[in-house]
């Protein structure tokens, strides 16, 4: 079998065999409905409870503050729509940034259509935001601030802890939501819990299954449900609980290690250094290599269309993306790179490498070599 190197772990990850095993058990044997009173139901309820505990523990939260959802997108929708609707009588002003994930941005756009007013904080060329801009945007009727911890396209780390502190100091209560989907498992989230009112995490970015995610909701925060029905998840999210999904999520969460950040960061620095040395037209987008999240590296290869390079690397068994997977089927340029003020040419030639702890040094060397011989040939091609 030819070598395969999967460097698109910010799009999705392979599920750990251990997680699949735990899910298997739920599919075939412990398949009860947790709401049922009989043994099968109680067994399922126990698995769900255990999963909730492990996931809560992984972010330093109380078990009861974890609400399972069907995806990170749903968790972001629930947090933002849920708070906006629950607190609308206190104010209809919301703050976010212009480099959020589409599940956040498009939810805010929908709220604008409903009559809410939204301030979008601009990012600098490193993909970061200035906390003073947040401070300046706060109004008397501001009820919610939603900021991502790690940007999914360029890996910038946003100052969510400072924002949390700022909001705590304010004259009136402003609810703070953090989209931590890309940070989960890479950066410690526990330090954020004192400041975060809501936080989104998702299983399939940490080698758990697709179709399950969680929203942390601080005790006392009111939230209007998105999905009504049987009253599961403390009446906040109805629907028969996805027990196998939760079990798989927990299996993946239970092996998260604080040591992975160092490992990933070493790989990322090796990849960045190798590529910058190998080809002359590469430039890093977003934070400096030693500053951003340990697993995301965004590089523009001037004169080469990103999509062409994705396919050329695929020929070598290397899987990367041009930006977030959610937007890669649309032909438009990344809203994140544009918001960072990159020239269109750089946006169109951008590639995102995203790492996981399953990647090895060997993978990185192989990728650098592939870039070394593919990129110059594509440049010749594009000049003609």
């Amino acid at each position: 079998m030819p070598k395969e190197v999967y460097l698109d772990n910010s799009a999705t990850t392979a599920v750990l065999p251990r997680a699949v095993q735990d899910m298997d058990e739920c599919f075939l044997r412990s398949y009860g409905n947790p709401s049922s009173l009989h043994q099968k139901g109680i067994e399922a309820e126990r698995i769900l409870k255990h999963a909730r505990h492990i996931i809560a523990d992984s972010i330093g939260a109380d078990d009861k503050s974890i609400i399972f959802t069907g995806s990170g997108t749903e968790a972001n929708n629930l947090a933002i729509q849920g708070v906006a609707h629950a607190y609308a009588r206190f104010g209809k002003h919301l703050i976010t940034t212009s480099i959020e994930h589409p599940s956040v941005l498009n939810t805010f756009k929908a709220l604008e259509d409903e009559g809410f007013s939204v301030s979008y904080i601009d990012a600098d060329r490193y993909g970061n935001i200035d906390i003073d801009d947040i401070n300046a945007a706060i109004r008397d009727d501001t009820v919610l601030v939603s900021v991502m911890y790690v940007n999914n396209e360029v890996g910038s780390i946003l100052p969510v802890q400072d924002i949390g502190q700022l909001l705590k100091r304010g004259d009136h209560r402003i609810i703070f939501h953090i989209d931590a989907v890309q940070a989960y498992g890479k950066l410690p989230l526990k330090p954020l819990i004192p400041f975060a009112d809501l936080m989104t995490i998702s299983a399939h970015k940490i080698h758990g299954p697709k179709g399950i995610a969680a929203l942390y909701i601080r005790d006392g925060i009111r939230i209007k449900p998105l999905i009504y029905g049987g009253g599961q998840e403390r009446d906040i999210r109805s629907g028969t609980e996805n027990v196998p999904g939760a079990a798989g999520f927990a299996a993946a969460a239970s092996v998260l290690s604080s040591e992975s950040a160092g490992y990933l960061s070493d790989l990322k620095q090796m990849l960045a250094k190798g590529i910058l040395e190998a080809v002359s037209n590469a430039s890093i987008n977003g934070p400096d290599v030693d500053k951003g999240a340990p697993h995301i590296l965004n590089i523009s290869f001037n004169g080469v269309r990103g999509e062409v390079l994705v396919h050329a690397l695929e020929q070598e068994g290397i899987y990367v993306s041009t930006g977030s997977a959610c937007s890669s089927r649309k032909q438009k340029v990344s809203h994140v790179l544009k918001a960072m003020g990159l020239p269109t040419a750089s946006c169109e030639s951008a590639i995102r490498f995203s790492l996981s702890t399953l990647n090895t040094q060997d993978d990185i060397e192989y990728t650098i070599n592939a870039v070394r011989h593919i990129v110059p040939s594509l440049m010749r091609f594009s000049r003609r």
Binding site: T12, A19, F27, G32, S71, P102, I227, S327
Partner: protein, 395 residues
């Protein structure tokens, strides 16, 4: 003997091994994000399109009319809220029934708070909705009719073909919650005049966490999950690929084996109902005697608490329920049983046994064998029963 009999298939089912086998590669080897443009992404994308075709084929829809969701509850919420918000300019009236699943009822109650008007149609003693009631209730403000295909508690099959016809004539959208019906009865959305239909994987041996909403081409409902452009830009979220594959396989299997399943379940159900009613006095069958789901037996036992019966059965290895799983924890009697006119005390003594492919005649006979003693013992502890016995003796 350590016997384990699962008779709560309406609450959830196990995943069939052949369904799981198809899902497994998509967790580990073929794990790509369908939105990715390279091979792994395209492979996942193709697989979900094949699953979409299977779901479409099972209900007589076009693949482009099938949208994947996280489950039946989300599908119901999306259909109802989506139609309500999209139709706000036309009107504010929704027609549903008193015996819908909570995913429908609680969504309607939420809409009521926002100013929508909801008509909750009554049902007869069998749980049947009268199509004439639907016709009479429609006004020029009516946006949507949402009536379930078959009831989850008492198994009654509603006249959705007639309701669909009325909805079509009057130009009102018709949504049906078919979560319990899929795999147990033939459903063809075109001939039934259904505009939207909810279904859920874990009720027919597929996985939990996946469902689907059929939205007829041209039906306009608001988006409800905002984000990426997945599901033709109508339902954002990274697709739950293994779940979708499992749903596709499960519905294909359920449809292909439906005649055998109907035959098998109907035979077991009738044997179960007859066996219980022959052996135990003061029992009534809830739901329609014939227009009912093949696997559903819902019985009320006078003078006892359904929950005590459940616990006793559970100790004997039989998993059953008193109503829908969602309300198991609550002390209120089932809204469905009250709607068919059962007094509170009788509604409390209800038992739902829902059969599945794995159940056998021996399972049924075992329940028929152990239930009389359980009922007898519980009745001996019941003051109401003592009173009744006294009355009988005095006659």
């Amino acid at each position: 003997m350590d016997r384990k009999i699962y008779m709560d298939h309406a609450a959830t089912t196990y995943v069939k091994p052949e369904v799981l086998d198809e899902m497994l590669p998509y967790f580990t080897d073929k794990f790509g994000n369908p939105s990715s443009i390279y091979f792994y992404g395209r492979e996942a994308k193709e697989a979900i399109e094949m699953a979409r075709e299977k779901v479409a084929a099972a209900i007589g829809a076009e693949p482009s009319e099938i949208y994947f969701t996280s489950g039946g509850t989300e599908s119901d919420n999306w259909a109802i809220k989506g139609a309500a918000f999209a139709g706000k300019k036309k009107g504010n009236h929704i027609i549903t029934s008193a015996i819908e699943h909570h995913a429908v009822l609680h969504t309607c109650q939420y809409l009521e708070k926002l100013g929508f008007e909801i008509t909750y149609l009554p049902v007869d003693q069998y749980g049947l909705i009268n199509p004439d009631d639907v016709r009479r209730t429609i006004t020029d403000k009516t946006l949507l009719i949402s009536i379930m295909t078959a009831n989850n508690e008492i198994g009654t099959i509603e006249p959705i073909s007639e309701i669909g016809k009325i909805a079509r004539e009057q130009g009102v959208y018709f949504h049906t919650d078919a979560v319990q019906a899929i795999g147990s009865m033939d459903i063809d959305v075109k001939s039934l005049n259904v505009d939207m239909l909810s279904l859920s994987g874990h009720k027919f041996y597929g996985p939990k966490g996946i469902g689907s909403l059929y939205i007829k081409k041209g039906v306009k409902i608001d988006q409800f999950m905002h984000g990426g452009a997945q599901e033709r830009n109508r339902r954002a979220s990274t697709e739950n690929v293994p779940g979708i594959i499992g749903l596709g396989k499960a519905i294909e299997l359920a449809t292909a084996t439906m005649p055998q399943r109907r035959e098998h379940l109907t035979r077991l159900r009738d044997r179960l109902i007859k066996g219980i009613m022959d052996k135990i006095p003061f029992v009534r069958l809830n739901g329609h005697p014939t227009e009912r789901l093949p696997g559903n037996a819902n019985l009320s036992f006078e003078f006892i608490e359904g929950e005590s019966m459940l616990l006793s059965l559970d100790l004997k290895g039989v998993a059953a329920s008193s109503g829908s799983a969602c309300t198991s924890g609550s002390l209120d009697p089932s809204h469905v049983l009250l709607a068919i006119g059962l007094p509170h005390e009788i509604a409390h003594g209800s038992l739902r046994l829902t059969l599945g492919d794995d159940n056998t005649e021996e399972d049924v006979d075992y329940v028929i064998e152990i239930l009389p003693d359980i009922v007898e013992r519980l009745r001996q502890m019941s003051p109401l029963f003592a009173e009744r016995e006294g009355e009988l003796k005095n006659v």
